[in-house]
Symmetry: C2
Subunit: 286 residues, 2 copies
């Protein structure tokens, strides 16, 4: 029996979820909805919320109240626990499951951070992002007067410190020195090493590649200098879409076990993310 | 309230478990037992089984039947699912939890392999071990006539292929050429690139350092070339002991939720491995 997944929001992430569903034998598409569509007739086991992140909480509430489990990649780190608290009682009331913050960061990186903390409880974890586009910083750069289009690249400098390479395509009438000054004063950029570079076309630089270099040096028991690294170089929306589909599988599994509520990925057994039977998975992975 | 952990077996791993318990505010030692000791009076929430791996199944059964949860780092990959099947019904009957194969491989590497499979369902994962001592190969080398002591180091060559560097301390009467020939014919060594090196003292080479370089290149949805790497360079028994203690915490948590049975680490929510409250963990890790 296949899991029916509806896709809500059809931008980069929604399209990636569609591809991941089509590639999974245990999944079928239950419809693709643009985020202004009427959802009254929606019928699915799980809805993958691929709307702008700020619209996720309202969509999740609405669908959970219809008894449809949800997965989202809500990515405002400081508000994830609040979303958890908000959705958990609704999911429980309607006997559904909501997997939240399910992307790569937050998401799979969170699982790696939790695992490394368990392996070496004392120490420091650094998550270094990029090279890759920062959505938040790109939007902030686009908001500067005189900027027609922009791209803010995050460059990892180690120990969680990042450089911002901000490419700007200017309006014809704009003065680069003024744009640069305003941008460097913006709170998004004022605290990091930031370089502003005028270019004739942002479209020519477009690339959804991203990366992570996560490190931990810590202490296991009383033994210091335990060293761990996790690296990835990935297509950003493709990975996010895949994580959402893997987490939809976990949502179905947890619901079948009557474990209703809201869950981040660190609260889910990793095996629930995978298709196939327990014996084959344990024999091949453990 | 602290979790009471008994340590069964007091070799390298048992000592590392002791250190990890002493370093954890939420844990207390409930006794240290050598593996021939009488366990009738043992009273603990969890017993950490640090005996030779082949003795783990019998100890686990015995302790589960006393209603004591167990954690072990049983490491014969091909027999882990069989141990799972054997211990699960006993753990359920006595309302206890048995966390099995809980070390770094099998163990935390298994979690990474499961996670990477969820992130890129098609592709190949290679687990490269070392440089570090292989216990199984070291024992096999020691069994060769004329060998007084031995150390077999595993050297990673990439794509899961390994070189064996076998250091041998010979009996006075032994002939190196004969020892080398017998060793290279042994099934443990016949299939890998193996170098045999005579040394005056194995003790002088002793070092519990080990490492892993795990890679996956795979496909998320229909997007190829998604690349992941997990590396560690660690003190081997210290990490194994720490993983056992973190898994003891998970065993207590799962028992409190009436989820009795046997579990490998891929069947456990990563957050259960960690002390502290849910809100603080989600806010800091996700």
């Amino acid at each position: 029996m296949q899991t029916k997944i509806a896709v809500i929001g059809y931008g980069n992430i929604g399209k990636a979820v569609e591809q991941a569903v089509l590639a999974a034998d245990d999944m079928q598409l239950a419809g693709i909805y643009h985020h202004n569509d009427n959802l009254d007739a929606l019928d699915a086991d799980v809805a993958a919320l691929c709307t702008p992140t700020r619209e996720v909480p309202a969509f999740a509430e609405k669908l959970l109240r219809k008894g449809i489990s949800t997965v989202d990649s809500f990515d405002i780190h400081g508000q994830i626990f609040d979303l958890h608290k908000r959705l958990a009682p609704i999911a429980k009331e309607y006997k559904a499951v909501s997997v939240i913050a399910a992307g790569w960061d937050p998401g799979s990186d969170s699982v790696v951070r939790a695992l490394l903390l368990a392996l070496a409880p004392k120490g420091i974890t650094y998550t270094n992002f990029g090279p890759g586009r920062s959505m938040g910083h790109t939007v902030a750069a686009k908001a500067i007067p005189g900027v027609k289009d922009a791209l803010s690249m995050t460059i990892p400098l180690g120990t969680g410190i990042h450089r911002r390479m901000v490419y700007v395509e200017l309006e014809t009438s704009a003065d680069f020195a003024t744009v640069e000054k305003l941008l460097l004063q913006d709170d998004y950029f004022a605290h990091d090493e930031t370089h502003v570079i005028p270019v004739p076309s942002i479209d020519a630089l477009n690339n959804v590649a991203h990366g992570v270099h996560l490190t931990r040096s810590g202490v296991s028991g009383d033994t210091h200098n335990q060293r761990f690294e996790f690296d990835m170089e990935i297509n950003n929306p493709a990975l996010t879409g895949q994580v959402l589909v893997s987490c939809a599988r976990a949502a179905v599994r947890m619901r079948a076990e009557q474990r209703h509520g809201a869950f981040t990925m660190i609260e889910i057994p990793p095996i629930y993310l995978l298709p196939g039977d327990e014996e084959q998975l344990i024999r091949s992975l453990v």
